[in-house]
């Protein structure tokens, strides 16, 4: 017994000593594999094994398993890196000098513009591009939209009547009866939370203002945050919404059907005069150098963005496809909300340039 | 034979020992004696190899071992804290060195039991955990462990100082017995002069990183080479200038230097002297008397000096403590230091 134990420790010790030298050899296995992959597809071209490494924030909740099944059937050999939108973006940016991903999808246009800045995308025109409305094609063929998201204010009609309901985000802070009863973001890490703030800020664009926003806009955001209710980590905001303790909130389009079903409410959507922030989850082929063979990646984009796949995808997981031929497959509730709301006109390039500063300013100075 | 020449050990800028020269013969019991911080342990640890000397050489049988790795020196060592391995049984502690030599199991067991006999440990104790033993037993284990590989030289670093007085005396004798039985060369560090006098063949007295004197116990006691040695070994009475002047008056030649310091061992101050003795009589008063059974000590005031004297209680001497008494000091017993 004693000797075995000692042996284990000893061998572990030697492993440590070897770690430095051996780490090289170890490393070669996976890294080497990747190289082989790249080499194969370069040589093979037509590609029997079409390996695609996807980076995405849209793989949770069973999506990855579903995509994997379909993709394997379609002849793809898939690998995934997943995380939150910001995390995936950070990872893509960090790896800029030696990109690993073949395809990135799921992040919004602001994030894809950041990838464009770092020259992390290559041009490719998918064969379904004709089915996309022209105004949704803002990526210079470097990226293309898949699913539309809208972020909007909503209220629970059980507790708030139509007359009482606010007509715009910044009205909330002035309404006596809703002090502390409307949900505001507690943190700005998530995309939806950021959009709530953007919904106010983007109404006050002013070239001379601080970071392109008029002082009035900043004041409105500050008041909006100061008089709202930050959901503590433990509480479920939808539960609060359903129970009426916090009957005013905001949400993203794709999540509404599930939320309504699970928590038992029927949300009323507010469509302010400027419209609701509408962003689109994009897909793009990652730039891995001039002599890289992009065939498999391009085929994946063609396949995944096609009307057929998008229809199947939103039937399974909800969401509003940008692809016009697939819109009808979206859940009825989503189509209904989409009709009730107007997309707000947003200059995503302008947003992308300033978003991080805005968020930081709000976090540092305006959050209570 | 161990020969140490011009040994110096530095800790950063501090010179712990300087110019230490020693010759230790095979099979002898050699003691390094001195107060704490005097350099005796430093010397021992240099021999063991735990410290690297900055200068000098340590020759064992003609071979300089200064650069030999510790484990290749083939020495035995016994520590003040015993340094038994707490994760091993008594048996394993003793067998440790043998296992390193890759002795067979049977050989190891035989040797361990032989050693257990030597240091008087029983079989039950061999199976115990070391912390379940008493201090004396732990030290026996440490001795057995150090002797396991039959080293010809064994180093002792104050091995008995953690034990009580009685046990210390007992183990001291046993050490001497074991040393004689095994014929090993023992280098022994202690600050206890009684211990040193009792068991040593030769003693080196250390002070402030230097050797003050090397000699047999008797030489060191009777002919202490320095004031430090004189005061450190045994009990010595300091003689004040007035008393020295008084003694000088009784002498015709070889008078003492009044500027020097003078001492006399307490047992060398007598109440009676035989006919023809050259001892100088001085008169004094008894301040205090302590009875010890076989002897008594008296503190006497003589001129500017307080003398402690020893009187055997064998019925031959009667002292009336109320009266003035006469003491005799033989000039040849007076030790003189310094005063140039």
């Amino acid at each position: 017994m004693s000797k075995k134990w000692l042996l284990t420790l000893t061998s572990a010790a030697s492993v440590l000593l070897l770690a430095a030298c051996a780490s090289g050899d170890e490393a070669e296995t996976p890294a080497g594999n990747d190289d082989d992959t790249a080499g194969e597809s370069t040589d093979g071209g037509s590609g029997e094994s079409r390996q695609v490494l996807v980076y995405s924030n849209s793989l949770a909740g069973g999506r990855q398993e579903w995509i994997d099944e379909m993709a394997t059937e379609a002849g793809f050999d898939m690998q995934y890196v997943e995380g939150g939108g910001g995390e995936v973006l950070n990872r893509l940016l960090a790896e800029a000098n030696s990109p690993q991903a073949d395809v990135a999808f799921g992040m919004d246009e602001a994030m894809f513009f950041e990838l464009v800045d770092e020259e992390l995308l290559v041009e490719y025109e998918p064969d379904w591009v004709g089915e996309i409305p022209d105004d949704a094609l803002i990526g210079d063929q470097l990226f293309h939209p898949l699913v539309e998201q809208r972020i909007f204010m909503m209220y629970n009609p059980e507790y708030v009547s139509e007359e009482e309901a606010p007509s715009n985000w910044q009205d909330l802070s002035d309404m006596e009866e809703f002090q502390g009863r409307y949900r505001v973001p507690a943190a700005l890490g998530g995309g939806t939370d950021q959009k709530a703030i953007l919904s106010i800020l983007l109404q006050y664009i002013d070239e001379d203002g601080e970071m392109g926003i008029a002082q009035e806009g900043w004041d409105e955001v500050e008041q909006y945050l100061a008089n709202g209710y930050q959901t503590p980590e433990k509480e479920e905001q939808l539960q609060n919404f359903a129970e009426g303790t916090v009957p005013l909130s905001y949400h993203f389009l794709g999540g509404i059907p599930n939320a309504e079903e699970e928590f038992g409410f029927d949300a009323e959507i507010v469509n302010p005069e400027q419209g609701v922030i509408t962003m689109r989850e994009q897909i793009g082929v990652v730039n891995k150098g001039d002599d890289h063979d992009y065939t498999a990646a391009q085929e994946f984009v063609d396949w995944f963005g096609s009307a057929e796949m998008q229809s199947a995808f939103v039937e399974e997981f909800g969401g509003l496809p940008v692809n016009e031929s697939a819109v009808d497959s979206a859940p009825e509730r989503l189509q209904e909300i989409a009709e009730q709301t107007e997309p707000m006109e947003v200059d995503w390039n302008f947003v992308r340039e300033n978003l991080n500063q805005w968020v930081e300013k709000v976090e540092l100075e305006l959050m209570p | 034979m161990i020969e140490i020449k011009g040994l110096q050990v530095k800790y950063d800028d501090f010179i712990a020992i300087d110019d230490v020269n020693l010759t230790i013969k095979e099979g002898e019991f050699f003691t390094l004696l001195g107060p704490s911080g005097c350099g005796k342990t430093t010397t021992l640890r240099s021999i063991a190899g735990f410290l690297k000397p900055s200068e000098g050489s340590i020759n064992v049988n003609g071979k300089n071992i200064v650069n030999t790795p510790i484990e290749k020196r083939g020495l035995g060592m016994i520590f003040q804290s015993y340094a038994l391995f707490p994760t091993m049984s008594v048996f394993d502690n003793i067998a440790y060195g043998l296992k390193i030599e890759k002795k067979s199991k049977a050989q190891i067991e035989d040797r361990v039991y032989e050693l257990a006999d030597l240091v008087e440990l029983n079989e039950e104790q061999l199976g115990k955990n070391v912390s379940d033993l008493s201090g004396g037993q732990q030290q026996r284990v440490a001795i057995a462990r150090a002797l396991a590989k039959k080293p010809t030289i064994v180093l002792f670093d104050e091995p008995l100082s953690n034990l009580d007085a009685k046990l210390r005396k007992q183990l001291r004798l046993e050490l001497k017995r074991i040393q004689r039985e095994t014929g090993m060369t023992a280098i022994y560090v202690t600050h206890d002069q009684d211990e040193a006098l009792e068991i040593s063949d030769h003693i080196a007295v250390f002070n402030n990183g230097k050797i003050e004197q090397i000699g047999t116990p008797r030489e060191i006691y009777d002919h202490s080479a320095s004031e430090f040695v004189c005061k450190f070994i045994g009990e010595a009475n300091y003689l004040g200038p007035s008393l020295i002047t008084h003694i000088n008056e009784h002498m015709e030649t070889n008078r003492f230097n009044p500027n020097a310091k003078h001492y006399v061992r307490e047992e060398k101050v007598n109440l009676m002297v035989p006919e023809g003795s050259k001892a100088v009589p001085v008169k004094g008063n008894i301040l205090q008397e302590v009875f010890y059974g076989t002897f008594s000590t008296y503190i006497c005031e003589v001129l500017d000096t307080t003398l402690r004297i020893i009187v055997k209680e064998d019925g031959t001497t009667r002292i009336d403590s109320k009266n003035e008494l006469t003491l005799y000091i033989d000039p040849k017993d007076i030790l003189e230091y310094g005063g140039d």
Binding site: L9, G61, Q239, A259, E360, E365 | F50, P69, K105, G127
Partner: protein, 609 residues
């Protein structure tokens, strides 16, 4: 001739030292390539904007009331927490190990629960008791109708939760200090007429002073770095760590994160220097002399005895109820969980069924276990060697600096270190022997390992102080080579501490998400990634329930780890005596551990093997 012999000797000496020099070279490489270079690069990347040094972060931070308040809050929390945690920690250790308290074993299990029950889950558990709809809140509101149901929030709530959540180190390290006390000294003090309180004050605490100092500083650090409690129960009481995390995740705000993190790091390093000074003054622990095991002291004063018993059981309830509720709630459906209501109507096994039958969970769990386990073992072994070199050369400036350099990971958050590694090695580099970190499987465990180093080194060093240097000398002079001495003598002596650290490190990184998301290899997702995928609130309305179930599963895995490594493992180390193979069959002994050891008994029962 003499000369050539000398030369020969020197050569063989040199030859024997080659492994050591190679190891030194390895250390130098490790420090430069993995600690200094990546961090320098990431700091340059962050603070060097358009070719010049940008220190706007200072202005932006000092202009932010929120950030300033968070910094002050963190220091306030750290200061008060140091007092409360040490009082509670000392108390629970004394009642389980020092005083004779009835039911000490069951108490011990409760007090040890924080080893696996920590972070967000723990706070969740406390909210089931004290939060809105919490068990206790319901009782309170019945008695005091005016009480706000959300009373459990802010600084007092954070302090309360963390006071009980942060006693883990006490139960590991202080506990074994107490167990390693010499009973004789206690008896001697009593003999001299000391009251029980005086014995504690004059003998026990002074003897354990080095451990107490370490724990004081560790609790201060826990307070400074508080993350879960402020998020979960802090309400408007915000601290630095959550801010650092959100700033780190946004490239343009990383300078803020770095600055805040460096503020925290410097506070930690200052404390560390104070502690190191303190250590150099020496410690009072006697070991390897005759020592008898502490016998439990019966509290003589009857009133005091009743009060201490009562307090012990009240604490036990405080510790265990949240844990029990978490386990119970993991069997509730979403309604039950979101309303914090326990009821058979809401009972469901569906959550467990869904997770346990989902095969895609097991691969990632294995990956995480291998990553966290491998990194934990290597980190501990590596730091044992470093600590040894540092302790052997206490007066050597180079060794001192080497030690401090290994505390670098305390200065920046893990994510930033990861970023630094990527920036430095995103293409094959000669510093990594021609490797690049991107796309490699080993970067994630490597970052885990690096993040484990500082606290591991801290505790290992503490354990070395209890190690009698004479043991090493004794082994060497008996003919054992330095390597053999290390393996046979030093390692076994440090084993209990080492195993505890392996288990702690493992648990800390098992369910990691933030680093994983940034670094994991596509072929080997970790359990943190899987949990997020299945429990993301945006995609799964059932997220809360799924999270709870995963938490319970992770706790179970951690408990097993603790039991196997720390409980059984130390027992095995303890039984290593080869004498049992002896012809004459002599029973193997049990060792008593010294200071800084983390004990050799079963943490669950306290039973000796």
């Amino acid at each position: 001739m003499m000369n050539s012999r000398l030369l020969k000797m020197k050569e063989s000496n040199l030859l024997a030292k080659i492994p050591f020099y190679l190891f030194c070279l390895f250390i130098a490489w490790f420090i430069f390539a993995l600690l200094i270079w990546p961090n320098v690069n990431v700091l340059v990347d962050i603070f060097w904007v358009d070719g010049e040094l940008s220190l706007s972060a200072f202005g932006r931070l000092s202009g932010s009331n929120r950030a300033i308040r968070a910094i002050l809050n963190s220091f306030l929390l750290a200061t008060v927490l140091t007092v409360t945690v040490n009082i509670v920690g000392t108390f629970i250790v004394l009642v389980t190990e020092y005083f004779d308290i009835k039911g000490a074993r069951i108490l011990r299990v409760g007090f040890m629960s924080t080893l696996v029950f920590s972070g967000m889950v723990l706070n969740n558990g406390y909210l089931y008791v004290y939060g809105q709809n919490g068990v206790l809140t319901n009782i309170f509101t019945r008695i005091l109708p005016n009480l706000e149901p959300t009373w459990f929030t802010g600084f007092p709530a954070v302090l309360f939760v963390m006071t009980f959540a942060c006693t883990t180190n006490h139960m590991l390290f202080f506990r074994n200090g107490v167990k390693g006390l010499d009973n004789n000294t206690i008896e001697a003090a009593k003999n001299l007429g000391s009251s029980q309180w005086q014995v504690l004050k004059d003998v026990v605490f002074p003897t354990l002073f080095p451990i107490i100092m370490t724990l004081v500083i560790m609790s201060f650090q826990l307070g400074l770095g508080a993350m879960a409690a402020p998020i979960m129960v802090g309400g408007s009481f915000e601290t630095i760590s959550p801010l650092i995390l959100s700033f780190t995740q946004r490239p343009s705000s990383r300078d803020l994160a770095a600055l805040l993190s460096i503020i925290l790091g410097i506070a930690q390093i200052i404390l560390l220097v104070v502690m190191t000074r303190n250590e150099k003054k020496g410690n009072y622990m006697s070991i390897s002399k005759t020592k008898t095991r502490v016998t439990k002291q019966k509290i003589e004063n009857k009133v005091a005895n009743i009060v201490v018993h009562a307090l012990s059981y009240i604490l036990f309830v405080i510790y265990t109820i949240p844990l029990i509720l978490v386990i119970l709630f993991s069997f509730m459906n979403l309604q039950g969980i979101s309303q914090s209501t326990l009821s058979l109507d809401y009972f469901t096994l569906e959550n467990y069924r869904a997770i346990l039958t989902n095969n895609t969970n097991y691969g990632p769990l294995l990956t995480s276990a291998v990553y966290a386990g491998g990194a934990a073992v290597l980190a501990v072994l590596f730091m044992i060697m470093i600590a040894r070199i540092v302790m052997k050369n206490k007066n050597n400036k180079l060794a001192e600096w080497t030690e401090y350099l290994f505390y670098i990971p305390w200065l920046l958050p893990g994510l930033m270190l990861a970023l630094g590694l990527i920036i430095s090695y995103d293409s094959p580099s000669f510093l990594l022997l021609g490797n690049s970190v991107i796309g490699s499987v080993w970067i994630l465990p490597l970052v885990y390992l690096i993040m484990m180093l500082p606290s591991t080194l801290r505790y290992i060093k503490g354990a070395y102080y209890s190690f009698d240097n004479n043991l090493e000398d004794a082994s060497r002079i008996l003919g054992s080579s330095p390597i053999r001495t290390f393996l046979r003598i030093i390692l076994p002596a440090l084993l209990p501490t080492a195993l505890a650290l392996v288990a702690l490190n493992f648990n800390n990184f098992l369910a990691d998400y933030d680093l994983s998301a940034f670094l994991y290899h596509p072929a080997y997702p970790t359990i943190g990634i899987t949990i997020r995928r299945n429990a993301d609130a945006a995609n799964n309305v059932n997220a809360a329930a799924v999270n709870l179930v995963y938490s319970v599963i992770i706790m179970a895995v951690s408990s097993i780890m603790f039991y196997v490594v720390y409980g059984r493992g130390s027992k095995m180390g303890e039984k290593k005596s080869g004498i049992r193979n002896s012809r004459r069959r002599i029973k193997a002994p049990v060792i008593v551990t010294g200071l800084g050891d983390t004990g050799v008994d079963d943490p669950a029962t306290g039973e000796k093997a």
